[in-house]
Amino acid sequence: MTTAAPQTSAGRWPAPLGTLAGTGGLVRLILRRDRVILPLWVLVLAVLPIYTAVGIDQLYATPESLRELYGTIVATPGLLALLGPAFDATLGALTTWRAGLVFTVVALASLLTVIRHTRADEEAGRRELLGATVVGRNAPLAAVLLVVFAADLVLGALLAAGMIGVGLPATGSVALGLAVAAAGWMFAAVGAVVAQLTDGAGAARGLGLGTLGLAYLLRAAGDTAGSDSRLGSLSWLSPIGWAQQTRPYAGERWWVFGLAAGFVVVLTAAAVALLARRDVGAGVLPARLGPAEAAPSLRSPLALAWRLHRGMLAGWTAGLAVMGAVIGSVADSVNDLAGESAQLRDLLERIGGEKALSDAYISGTMVIFALAAAGYAIQATLRLRAEEEGLRAEPVLATAVGRLQWATSHLVFGLLGPAVALAAAGLAEGLVYGLVGGDVGRELPRVLAGALVQLPAVLVLAGIAMALFGLLPRLAAVSWAALATFAFLALFGPLLRLSHWVLDLAPFTHIPRLPGGAVTATPLVWLLVVTAALVAAGLAGFRRRDLVSSA
């Protein structure tokens, strides 16, 4: 730990800065602790959109092809929901659209960084160590906000410079850079507020991610509905929506930045006010007492695992169900959009009848659920590793609980949890889609099947996580890299015309497209066999190996 830095540097600050004393030292401490991760996300997020611009420029070289792309985007609600609105048929505007996730990711990184250096430090007791030195009450919050605000600005500046560098208009580039920075600023401020509310960092992250998720969903719902409809105003309830509504390269609306600035000022002030009203270590929300005795049911590793997993299960299930409902609500309108193009309609009717376009839309978006559920599968399975690393596996394994019994108690959630979440997504999507189209009885089972058929691919990721946990515990986090690779192959592989050899590596490639497509059992059975082999290898490895507590 590097707590020595602020102590010495705080001592070198002669002027009494009141509640901000020691901020400079803390800034250096944060930069020291995050010296790898901070430059990494700033650089990656700045470079990605620039690459996107270059890529789009190569693939769509003529104004006509850009217009065609633009037409496809605005006619495809799934794309609008996933990435955001497209405002113009120019390279800049389409790059901004394509890089739409950057707004959310910057917001996420800023949010988590703020919580990491505020509430998480307090929970770990590091804040206390600092509080005893010449560090003012507001200094830790001020320091991390300074760092994150500056990082977001640097990111925006790099992005703007890069965009100008590849030949895009300067005004739009500056607007895009500012918009990305604004998204980061706003959620840094959200992080500052939620960090004051609870006494646990996990709960603070949950609140922050929930806020971000809500902002994303509001934007997604509003953007698919289109700016003309009444639902379109939903985007304006979302800070992520504001960042995109600044419309870089499409008649920039500078006044929207005023909204963002106001949001940041109000939330930061609220955070400072909350901070002044609470003790170090405590939250504004009161810490609740638990039961003095355990419920009679809390008597097995599985019961413990249920206690540890139930929040995660509820969160993922609810999140996927809401996503399903959003996609289900817009799926029917895809048909109407195709109505404008007689050719397209003709083609689709010949392939699969009137519903073909909606079906294609629904089956095409299923991969989003599959990827999300796979993330959940990894997270739940790697809870094993978290328990082991956090020394919480040890007291359980020192009782009359066998290795296999303990490992399977968590693995159950890695395997069944994603199934529950996928089912919830399918049910919600099928129900809403059926209600909109007026035929729940027909659509619900079809959509549900489309969601559940993803499960074998999802479980492969749980299997990979389990195998790594059992055989190479120190490398368990590589599971996430596997998911990232598979996601890249599933989403961009076909666009990049990668060979089938490569595409076949991703389990998601082998899932039949439902509703509408044909089901063949063979690939599904193979995926299940692979999963079973990975899980068995992981369990066997874990039975034989030492407990590895620290990295």
Partner: protein
């Protein structure tokens, strides 16, 4: 069965580090056995092997007549373990953790649980997140002590406890001995081991370097004394148990075996004591004196 734990030639390596280097240890049934050693000497590694959490590379370990790796689950019904670094699930209350661990072990004596909660002054309703290190330690201790088991494995159990709770802990362990349980108590606090243990094994760099009853090891415990006297002392050098004597006019520095302390003090007070500083030796000093080749290094 007269031995609860019997280990011979135990070896465990972590990469290039040899954590255990041919360790031999014997704990008899019904005794409180002190397992003394500095940090990093291999105490926790030994306990983890005894719990089947780690697999030894060589050597033999037997625990309650079984193999700690192969028979882990069956053996764990008959023992309780308190880790040195207690981490708990933040969202569970202390009471829930105590009950859970007790039940996983095969049962908890509810009367004893109430008694221990009172004795250690622990609020079981608080979430583990808000417990201090000492309180987390208490949770693990109560869960272990309230279980009906034959053997207790305690890894530096008082590291986070305040003196009052340390005293409570000593009382409880004394009770355990009377009720016939075997205790293996790892510690680096010599006074604690002296107060509680029948026999002691001292581990250094992965080997047992000394093992025996406290009386047998008594020669290890010396008190160092600095005194400012009214007149120069006489006859100190001739007393048994006095080591490293330095006399500088009326100033005296010496080390004395604890058994001879009384006699030395009588000699000093005969010369008139103006000032007195007495220090029990730290474990580290003991190690240094006992194992360093150069005795001069100790007198420093």
């Amino acid at each position: 069965m007269s031995t609860a734990i019997s280990i011979s030639g135990l070896v465990k390596t972590f990469g290039p580090t040899r954590a255990l280097d041919g360790l031999d240890l014997e704990v008899r049934t019904g005794e409180v056995h002190g397992f003394l050693g500095p940090n990093g000497a291999g105490k926790t590694t030994t306990l983890r092997i005894l719990l089947g959490l780690l697999r030894s590379d060589a050597g033999r370990a037997e625990l309650l007549g079984g193999d700690p790796w192969r028979d882990a689950v069956a053996l764990h019904r008959r023992l309780a373990y308190v880790p040195g670094d207690v981490t708990l699930w933040p969202s569970l209350s202390g009471g829930e953790v105590i009950d859970l661990l007790g039940r996983l072990r095969g049962g908890l004596d509810p009367k004893r649980r109430v008694e221990l909660l009172e004795r250690f002054d622990l609020d079981p309703r608080k979430k583990a997140r808000s417990y201090s290190k000492g309180n987390r330690q208490k949770v693990a201790l109560i869960a272990a002590l309230a279980s009906d088991v034959e053997l207790l494995l305690l890894d530096e159990p008082t590291a986070g406890l305040d003196p009052l709770m340390e005293a409570a802990f000593r009382e409880v362990v004394a009770d355990e001995r009377h009720s016939g349980r075997t205790v293996l108590l790892s510690s680096h606090i010599l006074a604690e081991v002296e107060a509680l243990c029948d026999r002691v094994s001292i581990i250094r760099a992965g080997r047992i370097v000394e093992s025996g009853t406290l009386a047998e090891l008594r020669h290890l415990t010396r008190t160092s004394i600095q005194a400012e006297l009214a007149s120069p002392p006489d006859g100190l050098a001739a007393l048994p148990g006095v080591h490293d004597l330095q006399v500088d006019g009326t100033r005296v520095r010496l080390q004395v075996d604890t058994a001879q302390l009384d006699e030395v003090l009588r000699h000093l007070s005969a010369a008139g004591v103006r000032g007195l500083v007495s220090q029990p030796p730290t474990l580290e000093e003991l190690f240094l004196r006992h194992y360093q080749a150069e005795p001069a290094g100790v007198a420093r």
